[in-house]
């Protein structure tokens, strides 16, 4: 079934009736987004069904050993989408019978999406799952694939079939500033206004990105940043200089007024910062 519209929703804002989609760019994004979905479910004492392609997967978002009543791990292996759907349906019915107020299911579709012969079956099962989820007052589903391992046309087909696209939860959000992790490219998306009132949250978010990364470039998407103060520019330049010898800090989609301000004070005062992608009027849709 084709969704004619879609919304991007932070993973913690997913609710019952959502049949959401995530095309992961790698382990870090999987950990961050799927981990939040699992963790929020377990903390709320909802039923969590984690469907993995591989046996004995490492479940993101799990601390310690959750009780098997709360967390069920299904190994779908290469049995095909139909069997996985049957197993999930059975688990959901059992959870509803057991009186869970909420049931969360996350499925790895990577294996099925890689096999062109399974596409019809996969799409049929996904549509069946949609019929199960949409009217439900308890069930939410997060379908996921490893984007690097699935052909682009299969990713497009699956994306179009899901009306909700799961996004990372913001690292920080208030009425003035929002900071969200990005994974492809690695970095942060900054929206709103940034000044000394919120330098510490930028510092923390940058530290998180830098702590987990390799030496590759770190990108800051500034398309929605309406104001940045000199202190925050100093912080960015300091971070860039601490990474001397490694890839630069790249400023993507800088608004023109920020270009103007930096040109006035001089780029030579911000060594290690690089201008990346230009701002565009119609940003390309995110996966």
């Amino acid at each position: 079934m084709e969704a004619f519209w879609s919304v991007r929703r932070p993973v913690s804002a997913l609710h019952a009736g959502d049949h959401a989609w995530l095309a992961c760019s790698g382990a870090e994004e999987h950990e961050h987004v799927v981990g939040a979905f699992v963790r929020d479910g377990l903390l709320a004492r909802e039923k969590v069904v984690y469907v993995a392609a591989e046996p004995e997967p490492r479940i993101p978002g799990v601390v310690g050993t959750p009780s098997p009543e709360l967390l069920t791990v299904l190994h779908a292996g290469h049995t095909g989408p139909r069997k996985a759907l049957d197993a999930v349906t059975a688990e959901v019915e059992a959870a509803e019978c057991a009186g869970f107020a909420g049931v969360r299911v996350t499925l790895d579709l990577t294996c099925a999406a890689r096999d062109p012969e399974l596409t019809r079956e996969l799409m049929a099962c996904d549509a069946a799952l949609d019929h199960l989820v949409r009217p439900s007052a308890a069930l939410s589903v997060l379908c996921r694939v490893d984007r690097r391992r699935v052909p682009p046309d299969a990713v497009d087909l699956l994306r179009a079939a899901h009306s909700v696209h799961a996004a990372p939860d913001p690292d920080f959000e208030d009425t003035v500033l929002r900071i969200v992790r990005t994974f492809d490219p690695r970095g942060l998306e900054l929206s709103g206004e940034l000044d000394a009132s919120r330098h510490t949250v930028l510092d923390q978010a940058l530290a998180t990105v830098l702590a987990h990364g390799d030496d590759g470039p770190v990108h800051l998407d500034l398309a929605e940043l309406r104001f940045i103060d000199l202190g925050a520019l100093n912080m960015l330049a300091e971070v860039a200089s601490r990474r001397a010898g490694r890839a630069p800090l790249v400023l993507d989609r800088m608004p023109s007024q920020l270009h103007e301000v930096i040109a006035t004070v001089g780029w030579n005062m911000l060594p290690g910062l690089e201008v990346g992608r230009a701002a565009v009027l119609d940003p390309v849709p995110r996966p």
């Binding site: 104001f227 000199l230 300091e238 301000v261 006035t264």
Partner: protein, 319 residues
């Protein structure tokens, strides 16, 4: 190459007539060309023609005085950046700058005189060689007298002599700010700040600037960055009460922050840009680049930082 840092020089060339100018400027430029310096000359067209008759000026970069003498802080920052780059490459920047003193307001003259003094502190690290020809006949006597306070040396014929009246730049700078600022107009928009989110201060300034002063977006954005920096400083280092005032002057939008604190003695007040390659130094000097003018007074009665952005041709609604 391990050259020792070259000695900094900032020389006054008071001259009468073309011969006097050439007698000082030609050897100065020739020495730079011989040494492989980067040689810049900010001169009138007439001087450029005279120089071209005397030496091969193919390697001299001539710049338009009207552009060069547009904004003291920006000119200083740009020239200093060039001097730093030259020094990093083991070379030297050589500047011949012919200031234009006529048709300037007293306030403008004072700012350029101040810049002449600041040059001594700012360029010292670069080993730059700077010569400033002053035409004695067409320059007010007071301006020549002050040039002897802001230039460590004077060129007389082929001799270089120390200026006995040379004043240490901190002292000269402080003297420039001896007079109190003119009081804000009674109609100035006044807001007592009680440590709210900086976001709200910006929103307030932006609203007022757009609606009452019709400030265009580009200077408004520069002003917002500047006022945020000044307000951040006042909240971090100043003392209450903090007061924000805004008003429109002819062809300018003015915004000032007053607080009860006092700045330490011998501050450069952002006049001297930091050395290159050290991140994290954007601050008050960057505010000077962003605004058309920045005036600071600090003392027993507290501190006032007054920012102005020029708005030529913009008519304010009120005031």
């Amino acid at each position: 190459m391990t050259d020792a840092p070259r000695p900094f020089a900032h020389r006054l060339l008071p001259y009468e007539g073309a011969d006097g100018l050439l007698a000082g400027a030609v050897p100065f430029l020739r020495a730079g060309l011989a040494d492989g310096d980067r040689v810049l000359a900010v001169t009138s067209l007439a001087t450029r023609v005279l120089l071209g008759d005397e030496l091969d000026t193919g390697a001299v970069e001539f710049l338009d005085p009207a552009e060069w003498y547009a904004h003291p802080a920006r000119t200083l920052a740009a020239a200093l950046a060039d001097a730093d780059v030259a020094a990093q490459r083991g070379g030297r920047l050589r500047l011949l700058t012919e200031p234009t003193w006529t048709r300037r307001s007293a306030a403008e003259v004072r700012e350029w005189q101040r810049t002449e003094a600041i040059v001594n502190a700012a360029f010292h690290r670069t080993g730059a060689a700077i010569m400033c020809p002053y035409p004695v006949r067409s320059t007010p006597a007071g301006v020549i007298a002050d040039a002897r306070r802001t230039h460590p040396e004077t060129v007389r014929g082929d001799r270089v002599v120390a200026n006995p009246g040379y004043v240490e730049p901190h002292v000269y700078n402080a003297a420039c700010d001896r007079d109190p600022l003119p009081p804000p107009p009674a109609s100035a928009e006044t807001l007592r700040i009680a440590r709210p989110d900086l976001y709200w201060i910006r929103a307030y300034v932006a609203d007022w600037a757009r609606q009452t002063a019709r400030l265009p977006e580009e200077p408004l954005q520069r002003l917002l960055v500047a006022i945020t920096e000044i307000m951040t400083n006042a909240q971090a280092h100043g003392a209450p009460p903090i007061t924000l005032r805004m008003w429109t002057a002819p062809d300018a939008f003015v915004c000032e922050v007053a607080d009860g604190g006092r700045w330490p003695e011998r501050s450069w007040y952002g006049f001297v840009p930091p050395p290159p390659g050290v991140p994290g130094r954007l601050g008050l000097w960057a505010v000077r680049l962003l605004c058309s003018r920045v005036d600071i007074r600090t003392g027993e009665g507290g501190t006032t930082v007054r920012l102005a952005v020029d708005t030529p041709g913009v008519r304010a609604d009120a005031l």
